[in-house]
Assembly symmetry: D2
C-alpha cells in the first residue's frame, strides 16, 4: 500500500513536472508568442515497450537538431492509444519499464495540438513518422487541413500562426517534392542492413506494414530502388497486409542463388508485427514460411526508427515543411 | 512547507480523481462509443471568482437536465484563459476560494474537444453561453465547422460521430430559429429584474458587453422587446463597448418621470465590467454617470447566468441542437 | 417571324461577341496567366430595368478605375436570377429596353467564377455591392471561402492564384477595417441627399432593405452617424423588413419641427422596394403612411449606386482587398 | 462567305438548342427543384477526335441507364481543355468531324457545376472516368469537398441539396468499397481483350497512363489480378509515365514462350498516348521497342471506354454514389 502511494506520488510529480515545465516554456508574451514554435511527432504508435525506443530515438534526433523546440509525441492509431489508456490503470508497471510519461499518457492529434495552443505555441510542425503517404498520413493531413481552416474574426485570435505538416519518410504525392528522390534518399540510409545481408551472403527481405484499403504497390517501387542502389544484394519488400504478401515474393526468391535471408521490419518500430508476424515461431510467420522454403533466416528485431540516419530523414522533412511554411525553428 | 505539500497532494488527487472518473466514464466499447455523448459549455469566461458561480450555475442546470452526460467547461476568451493559467502557479489559493478545478485548469475549445474524443465521446454538443451571436459565437462556430471538416479514410476512425453547436441565448442569424422569438423567450425570463425595478419605482438599465468590431445594434432590438413585454417599466439596454453607449442612453432617460434606476449587467456573469465599469466608484462608471445625472442608482451585481430561468434557455438550445443533429442526450 | 429571326440572330451575335471578346482577353500563356486578374461585382440584383442602371454605373466606375480588367456581374439573389432566366424567353424585349446582355444572362457566383477560371483568370476580386455585411455578404463569403479551400495535388493546377472578397459599402465585422470608419466614409458621400432635404426644409428618411433573419440594428448606428455628420438635417433610417420599421420611426418624427420629408432608398438600386413599398400609392407604402401622418413627402427614386461618390467606395474596397491579397489590378 | 454564315447560324442554333433544352429541363418549381438530379461525367479528356467516341460511349451508357437525367461532360485536364478552347476559333471544322458541341465548348468542373445549379439541379453526382484514384481523382474530390463546404445562412439557399462523387473504375482508398473487389469486377469486363490475345497466341500488354508524382504501383496489383482471372494468357500492365515503365516489363517478357503481343491502351480513350507512345512508328514507341525485342506486336487502338461492359462500371458507381448520398436518379 505504502509503495503504491509512493508510486502514485512519484508519477504525479512526474505529471506535474511535465506540466510545469510546459508552463515554464509557455512564458513569453504577445508578439513573441506568435513566433513560438513546437513540433509534433505523429507516429502510428506501438504497444511494445522495446519498440517505443525507436520512436524516442527519432524524437531525440529531432530534439538535438532543434534545441529549445518542444517535440511532442502523438500516436495516430486509435487502437494503440486505447491500449495505452487501459495501461494507465497500472501506470507504475509501465513507467518502471522505461515507458516515457508522454507515451503512457499519449493523446490524439486534436488534443495534442490543442494543448500546444493552450501553452502559447502558434507555430506547429506536425511530422509523421509514417513510411509512405497512405491512410495514416492522409488522415493526419485531413486533421491539419481542417484545423488550418479555422478563421477567427480578428486575426490576432487565430489559434495558429502557421500549422504545417512534413511528408512521410519516403515522400508523398505531388510535385513539391519528388517522391522518387525521397525514396532514394531514404533507402540510402539502410546500407547497414544491406551490408549485414552481404556479410551473411544473404538476400535482404523487408516486411512492411501494408494494408488492404490503400494500394501498396509502392513497396515494389521501393524494392526496385533498393536493387538499383545496392546491386550486390537481392532485396525483397513485402507487407503483412495487402500486396505484395509473402506468397507473392517466395515464388521469385527461388531464382536467387543465395539460401540465406536477413529478415527485417520495414517499419519504424519492431513491434507486434515484427515480433510475431515476422519473427515469431508460429507456422505462418515469415520466418517459418521462409524456413520451410529452405532458407536460413536471420531475423533482426530493430525498427527503422533506431537507425539514426533514417531518423534524420524526419529532421530533414521538418526543416523542409518549416521553410515552406515560413516557420523559424528556434524559440528565443 | 508541510501544509503546502499536503495541498499539492490534495490538488493532485483532485486532478487524478477528475482524470480517473473521466477514464471510468470512458469505458464502453466499439459501437457503444459511437453513441457516447458529452456537452461543452463555452463561456466567454471570467476572472472574478464570485462571477464564476453564474457559469457553474448554468453547468448545474445542464447537468440536472441531462444526468450522466459530462458537461465540460471551456472559456472562449484567450485573455481570460491566460490569466487562469498564471493563477495555476498559486493553485491552492484559487481552489480554496472555491474555484472548481476545471475552471482553474480551463482549456481552449480545441484541447477540450480533443480530450473528449480521447475519452471516447464521439457525439458532442457545444453550447455557447454568449448572449448574442457576435464575434465570440462566430469564432466558436468556425472552430466547430473546421473540426467537422475532418474526413478520415475509413468512417470508423472519424473523430466525431456528430459535433454540433447550440445557438446563443438570444438566437442567431438564419431562419432555422427565429431570433425575434428567441429574444422574446429569453427576455421573458428576466421578469424578476423588471419587478425589482417596478417595486423601486425605477427604470431598468442593463449594461451589455458590446464591442467595437461587430455591430451591436441588436441591443436596441432587445430594448424594444423589453418595452413591449414589460410596458410598465422603462428599460434601457446599453453596452460598455460600442453602440449604444451610456451617452446614447442618458439623453433619452430624461423623458422618464422616474428618478430611480435599477442597474444590472446584461451579461452571463457579474464580473469585471459589472464590478468596475457598471457599479464602480470611479467617476466614469455607469453608476457615477447616472448618479451625476440626478438618478438614484441601485446596482445589482448578479449575472444572467445566476437566473435559473435564463440558464434554462441553454438547456433548451442544447436540446434543439442535439435533436437537429440526431444526437440522443443519454449515455447508457 | 422574319423580325423575330433577325432578332435571334442579333442576340446570338451579341452572345458570340461577348464570348469571343472573352476568348481574346483570355490569351496570354503560362506564367502570364498566373497574373491575369478579373473583378466580379456581386449585387443582390434587381428586376427593374431602370434600377439596373445603378449597378451598371458602379460597374462603369470600376472599369474606369481598372482599365483592362474585366468586371463581371453576378446577382446573389436566387429569386432575382430566376426571374431574369424566365425573361430570356423574350430576350429581344429586354435587350431593347437597354438591359445589358450580361444582366439578362446573369449567372450565380459559382458559374461566374468558373467561367473566369476557364478563361484564364486566376486572380479574382469579388466585390459585393451590399450595403452591410448581412445574410447576402455572409453567404457570398461562404462561397469564396469554400472555393479557396480547393487544393490540387500540384500547385500549378490550383484553380486560383488569389481569390479574395472586398467588404460591403458600410464595412464588415472584424478589426481589419473599422466599420465605424467605413460607415463614416460611406455616409460622407450622401451629402447631396442631405442638401436636397435642407433645401426643402425637410427631414431625410432613408428606406433600407433589412430582413427578419439577421439583426438590422446597424441601421440605427448609421442613423446616429448621419446625425453626427449632418447636424442640420434630421435623418431617419428604417428598413422594409425587420427593425426599425416605419412604425418604429414615426413616433420619433413628431419631435421634429419640419413637416417635409425627402424619402429615398438606402439601397444600391431604386427597384421594386423603392417603387412600391417606398413611393407607391398603396396605402401601406411609406409615402402613404408618412403623408397620412401629415408630412409632405418628396420621394426620390434613385439608388445609392447612381451616386458616383458612393460607387467609388466599391473601387476603394476592391483596391483594399486586392492589396491585402497581393493582387495587382493590371492585366499586361 | 455564305457557307461560313450558314455554318455560324447552324452552330448558333446548336448552342441555342442546347441552352433551350436545358432551360426546358430546368422547369419545375420550389420543392420539385430540390429533387432535380444531374450527372457530371468527369474525364481526363482527349484531343483526338476518334478518341472522343469512347467518352461519348460512356455518356450514352449512362444516359440509357438514367433516362431523363442530364449527363454533362467535363474534362479535368486543364491542358486538354485549353486545346479545345483554341479549336473553337475554327469551330465548324471540329463540329464537322463529329465533335459534340459540349466537347468543343467543354468547361472546367466549377463552371460545369455552376451552370447546373443555375438551371435548378441541386442533386449532382460527379462520376470520374479515371481508371485509378490518383492525382486527377484526388483533385476532383478536392473540388467536390470544397463546393460541399458552402453553407448559406438559410438552408433553402444552399446551392446543393446533395453533391456527391462516384469512385474511379478500379476503386479508391478506404473501406467503403473494397478496391480489390472493384479491381476484380473491372478486370472481368476485359475478357474480349484476353480472348483476342489467346486467339493470337499472344501475351496481352496494356499501356496505362501513369505519372511521376503519385505511386503507380497499383498497376502491378492489377496485373496480378489479370493473371489470376485469366491464367491462360500472360498479361503485363505498364505505364507511359512512372512505374512500371516498358523497360521494367521487357525483362520479364522473355520468360514467356509466346512471341506475339496484343498491345492495348489501359486508358478510357485511345488518344495521343495510344496513337503515338504506344502504337506509333517512332523508335521509342512501345510497338517499336517490343518489335525490336523480337515480338510480333498487334496494336489495338481502342479505349476501355468503348467497351460497353467497362462503361457500365461507371453506371454502377454512379448508382452507388447516389444511393450512399440519398439521391434518387429520376427527374419527375
Amino acid at each position: 500500500m505504502y509503495k503504491r502511494l509512493t508510486f502514485i506520488m512519484f508519477s504525479i510529480f512526474f505529471v506535474l513536472f511535465t506540466s510545469v515545465s510546459f508552463v515554464m516554456a509557455g512564458h513569453g508574451k504577445g508578439k513573441a508568442d506568435k513566433e513560438k514554435v513546437a513540433i509534433v511527432l505523429a507516429s502510428f504508435g506501438t504497444t511494445v515497450p522495446s519498440a517505443v525506443k525507436s520512436i524516442i530515438n527519432i524524437q531525440d534526433e529531432i530534439k538535438r537538431a532543434f534545441p529549445g523546440v518542444p517535440v511532442k509525441i502523438t500516436f495516430t492509431s486509435n487502437i494503440i492509444r486505447s491500449i495505452w489508456k487501459k495501461r494507465r490503470a497500472d501506470a507504475k508497471k509501465w513507467l518502471n519499464k522505461g515507458i516515457p510519461n508522454e507515451v503512457l499518457y499519449v493523446k490524439n492529434i486534436i488534443a495534442t495540438i490543442g494543448d500546444l495552443v493552450e501553452n502559447g505555441y502558434k507555430n506547429i510542425v506536425v511530422q509523421p513518422t509514417h513510411i509512405f503517404f497512405m491512410e495514416q498520413a492522409q488522415d493526419l493531413k485531413s486533421y491539419i487541413d481542417a484545423l488550418n481552416s479555422i478563421k477567427t474574426t480578428k486575426e490576432k485570435w487565430m489559434p495558429f500562426n502557421k500549422l504545417v505538416m512534413g511528408r512521410p519518410a519516403l515522400g508523398m504525392p505531388g510535385d513539391k517534392y519528388n517522391y522518387h528522390e525521397d525514396m532514394e534518399k531514404a533507402l540510402k540510409t539502410v546500407s547497414d542492413d544491406v551490408n549485414l545481408a552481404k556479410n551473411k551472403d544473404a538476400m535482404l527481405v523487408y516486411m512492411g506494414h501494408g494494408n488492404e484499403h490503400w494500394s501498396t504497390g509502392i513497396y515494389l517501387e521501393a524494392q526496385k530502388m533498393m536493387r538499383k542502389l545496392y546491386p550486390d544484394v537481392v532485396t525483397f519488400i513485402g507487407s503483412v497486409e495487402g500486396f505484395p504478401g509473402i506468397d507473392d515474393l517466395t515464388g521469385h526468391m527461388g531464382y536467387s542463388k543465395s539460401k540465406n535471408i536477413v529478415l527485417k521490419p520495414f517499419m519504424i518500430v519492431a513491434g507486434d508485427h515484427a515480433t510475431n508476424d515476422m519473427a515469431g515461431d508460429e507456422k505462418d510467420s515469415w520466418k517459418s514460411i521462409l524456413s520451410k522454403e529452405g532458407f536460413k533466416v536471420f531475423p533482426v528485431l530493430k525498427g527503422l526508427g533506431s537507425n539514426d540516419k533514417f531518423a534524420d530523414i524526419f529532421v530533414k522533412h521538418i526543416k523542409d515543411a518549416a521553410r515552406d511554411g515560413g516557420i523559424e525553428l528556434i524559440n528565443h
